[in-house]
Subunit: 148 residues, 2 copies
């Protein structure tokens, strides 16, 4: 039984994710956003989803738990919910200009902090890392599940 040559991928990524989330927290607080609020603001501009349930699925949230998040964002004028004329069950979500601005300023602050950390890596490694992460992050979730 040979010694493994690397740590588990999960063992590196999961704690790293925790550290990054912890790092985001003060930035989000300074922008008066919770994590899920920010996730929704970000997803609404990058994911072409039609239904709230699809949005929840896309961002890994629970569709029932996301309702109060959407309520809050709507109440603050950061997003709108309009019935879809093609299917009156559906509420179409859209960012307001205010929502877009808040998303952008928050994202800028978050990414600035991330760049500070990423600069600890060589530039070429940085580019590859981001490219590879993007590829992995875009994989369907069940890609990772073990085969039976």
């Amino acid at each position: 039984m040979a010694e493994p040559t690397r740590p588990d991928l999960a063992a590196m990524i999961v704690p790293l994710g925790r550290s990054l989330m912890a790092a985001e927290q003060p930035i989000l607080a300074a922008h008066d956003l919770t994590m899920w609020e920010y996730v929704v603001l970000t997803a609404l501009s990058t994911e072409p989803v039609r239904t709230q349930a699809a949005l929840a699925d896309a961002v890994g949230a629970d569709k029932t738990r996301i309702i109060p998040v959407l309520d809050g964002l709507q109440r603050r004028g950061l997003l709108t919910r309009e019935p879809d004329p093609a299917d009156r069950r559906v509420r179409l979500l859209a960012l307001t200009p205010q929502g877009r601005r808040l998303r952008d300023t928050t994202r800028t602050a978050i990414q600035r902090n991330e760049e500070r950390v990423l600069r600890l890596l060589p530039a070429a490694d940085r580019r590859v890392l981001l490219r590879a992460l993007r590829t992995l992050a875009d994989l369907p979730r069940d890609t990772f599940l073990p085969e039976t």
Copy 2:
């Protein structure tokens, strides 16, 4: 305000971590281990820690919540706890041969599955990704916190 050229690092890493944890779950179950049990088994062979509290900190666990995990592992003969003669408050932890074997077979299965996913990346990217992740994962947690 220019469009960002990349997703947030956290926005890629955190869901990826979730997917990897979900993928691990059936493998751990097949080896009769919980996630924290496996984390402890793995950490005991790679982290030179003396106290249980230090182990908990090293693996991002709560020192009080880790006690029942250690109890269970000890009861199953996977690890031993002996008083440290140099400081009788401390319980020195060590894997048994059985614990080492279980850790190894589990890790092999987990990494085999991870390799299957990693092979979706070009080989050179794979190497850089793992190297970069290792670097980032080894950073002290407060490296990531924003500067005041």
